[in-house]
């Protein structure tokens, strides 16, 4: 049981770290184009890019629509995205997992 409680503590600290990075740290991230974007610009294929169908999303480009403050806008988007990934991935893995009473060799 101790092991399970320790794992819960580990998960809590990990989640907090992820939320802090996405919600607060990301404000200080470099805003320069990334490697691919830069190379596309330099070698001349950046303008073949089409606008994403999701560009009207309320969280497009890691900014929250309607929130003026850049720090808050990016923070809300980062935290929302983080929680969305947690819900989808966490749910998926919980469904896929081998149950404890199931022998490991099966499947």
């Amino acid at each position: 049981m101790t092991g399970r409680r320790r794992t819960r503590g580990f998960l809590a600290v990990g989640l907090l770290a992820a939320l802090l990075v996405a919600g607060v740290g990301s404000f200080y991230a470099s805003s320069h184009p990334d490697g691919l974007e830069y190379v596309a610009g330099k070698t001349g294929f950046l303008d073949t890019q089409d606008e994403s169908a999701a560009s009207d999303s309320p969280l497009a480009d890691y900014q929250t629509k309607g929130v003026g403050d850049a720090r808050l806008s990016g923070g809300i988007a980062g935290v929302s995205g983080t929680l969305a990934v947690l819900a989808i991935a966490g749910g998926l893995f919980w469904v896929l997992r081998r149950r404890d009473d199931e022998p490991a060799e099966e499947s």
Binding site: A22, P33, F45, D61, G78, I88, A89, F93
Partner: protein
């Protein structure tokens, strides 16, 4: 490295879409062997952390930045099949909600970052783990080297796709040189982040690190009396 819509033509995007579907389907089967009651929540956290990590663009000079891809990191922490799913979920959320990476390019991005990134990362990690001393301290180092190699590998595969289906008629060698050059530098950042994160987890909970398990088996038996109260 998120490819937007439009860089690659429709046939290429369809082809990478098919590759992504096959890869994710295989990962859905394979991940069952890696996930149990204890590791499933940790794997969910790994995906979450990869998403957060990908937001932290770090400068690599000349007005360019790079960010964590996370394939090697996720593979070492959660296992390779689970890692493919971790990165794919991150890319799905980014494409649908954040417009980071195109929607028609989702298959391309899954192929590059989830399949190539995780696949190359895991292979290099296993190779390094076999070569390096059989100690837990080798795990972060092996993970860092794997992470380093995985980034230019993904960049090279992008260039290959661009050579086949790039919409703009640009010399492949030019694109390859530029892509590899920058992504070797970005790979260094990937290596540092991956090494530090894996090192931290190995330090506190080595039993939760998938890639460390072969090294733990013998050790756990040795020290069990000391840990159990």
């Amino acid at each position: 490295m998120h490819v937007p819509d439009g860089f690659l033509d429709a046939p290429t995007s369809l082809a990478t879409g098919a590759v992504a579907v096959v890869g994710v389907a295989a990962a859905l089967r394979g991940a069952r062997r890696e996930l149990d009651d204890r590791t499933a929540p940790v794997a969910g956290l790994v995906a979450t952390f990869v998403f957060a990590g990908q937001m932290m663009n770090f400068p690599v000079g000349a007005g360019t930045s790079g960010h964590l891809l996370g394939g090697a990191l996720a593979a070492v922490l959660a296992g390779p099949w689970t890692a493919v799913l971790c990165v794919s979920v991150v890319l799905l959320v980014q494409a649908l909600f954040i417009a980071d990476g195109g929607i028609t390019a989702l298959g391309t991005n899954i192929t590059l970052m989830a399949l190539v990134g995780v696949g190359v990362g895991w292979l290099v990690f296993c190779l390094m783990r076999a070569v390096l001393p059989k100690r837990l301290t080798s795990v972060p180092l092996a993970a860092g080297i794997a992470a380093f190699v995985s980034v230019p590998a993904a960049a090279a595969v992008f260039t290959l796709l661009f050579a086949v289906g790039g919409v703009a008629p640009i010399d492949t060698a030019t694109v390859l040189t530029a892509m590899l050059g920058w992504h070797v530098v970005i790979g260094l950042g990937e290596a540092v982040i991956t090494g530090l994160v894996v090192g931290s987890v190995v330090a506190v909970r080595p039993d939760l690190v998938y890639g460390a398990r072969p090294l733990i088996g013998a050790r756990t038996l040795e020290i069990r009396p000391a840990v159990t109260r």
